[in-house]
């Protein structure tokens, strides 16, 4: 099952980002390794919803909305409270690694293929349970 999900994610990301499916490795960063830009994040969300027949609520996969909250960002850096909020709302993201230098502008670098895989697996498992 996990292999099937990963293959589908590879195909989805390759289509959105215009890369070869083999380049979509679990550890790959969407921005640094696969060249994703903001339009690609929206494209990825829409394509994942279609491919897995799920609805991805705002901020559940890519935590954009948290960063618009003044309590969580100070002088271009995510605050301790902000990091805790991201960890709680987006447990699929490696917040510990990001927290070493929590610059808001660098957060997207930590969006990885692995993060999407974990999210989709979790979502599909929850739907099976329900």
């Amino acid at each position: 099952m996990e292999k099937e999900i990963f293959a589908k994610i590879q195909e989805t990301l390759a289509g959105a980002l215009g890369v070869e499916p083999e380049e979509v490795r679990p550890e790959a960063s969407l921005t640094k390794d696969l060249g994703a830009e903001s339009i690609d994040f929206i494209d990825i969300i829409f394509r994942l919803e279609k491919a897995f027949n799920i609805k991805i609520p705002n901020g559940e996969l890519f935590p954009g909305n948290i960063l618009a909250d003044e309590r969580f960002v100070k002088e271009g850096r995510v605050t301790v409270g902000g990091l805790a909020e991201i960890k709680a709302k987006v447990p699929y993201l490696d917040v510990d690694l990001f927290s070493r230098d929590p610059q808001v502008s660098k957060l997207a670098e930590f969006f990885t293929v692995q993060m999407i895989l974990r999210y989709v697996e979790d979502r599909l498992a929850k739907e099976v349970k329900a």
């Binding site: 215009g18 903001s38 339009i39 969300i45 901020g59 954009g64 960063l67 808001v104 997207a108």
Partner: protein, 148 residues
């Protein structure tokens, strides 16, 4: 402190953002998704004003780049899908626009920008200004009058 290109009043720039989007990328995006999904990126007013033009690559790319340039001018982070639909782009002259977002814009600021384009891509630049005091506005007005 510089005069705003729109109003001529004294404004202090506090952020600059630039974004470009290739027309090929815009076309690929528009082809992959339904109009219902694409509309989620825009405000109701933009949807009403642009109508079907919203789905043409050059128009779509212009509005998208303008919103992204605004994000960069306002702080540089990706604000997620809801962020895009909370920024209003208001073109007011050929190649120029105002960007308005009560949610993402610091208080007492104005965002203005311009579009630039090539046959392959479209770009937008946004400058976020902080309004200055009346006396400073007056000084700039006097300087502009002298220059005229």
């Amino acid at each position: 402190m510089i005069p705003s290109p729109v109003s001529g009043t004294a404004m202090r720039p506090i952020g600059v953002g630039i974004d470009i989007l290739s027309l090929d990328r815009a076309k690929r995006f528009l082809t992959a998704h339904s109009s219902k999904q694409i509309q989620k990126i825009f405000t109701e007013s933009e949807r009403k004003k642009m109508g079907r033009e919203l789905f043409s690559p050059p128009h779509f790319a212009k509005l998208f780049a303008a919103k992204e340039a605004f994000f960069k001018a306002a702080g540089g982070s990706w604000m997620g899908l809801p962020g895009f639909s909370r920024i209003q782009i208001q073109p007011f002259a050929k190649h120029r626009f105002k960007a308005v977002s009560p949610r993402y814009q610091p208080k007492e600021t104005t965002a203005e920008g311009c579009f630039f384009e090539s046959p392959e891509w479209v770009g937008a630049q946004v400058i976020l200004y902080h309004a200055e005091s009346k006396s400073q506005k007056s000084k700039v007005k006097t300087t502009i009058q002298k220059l005229k």
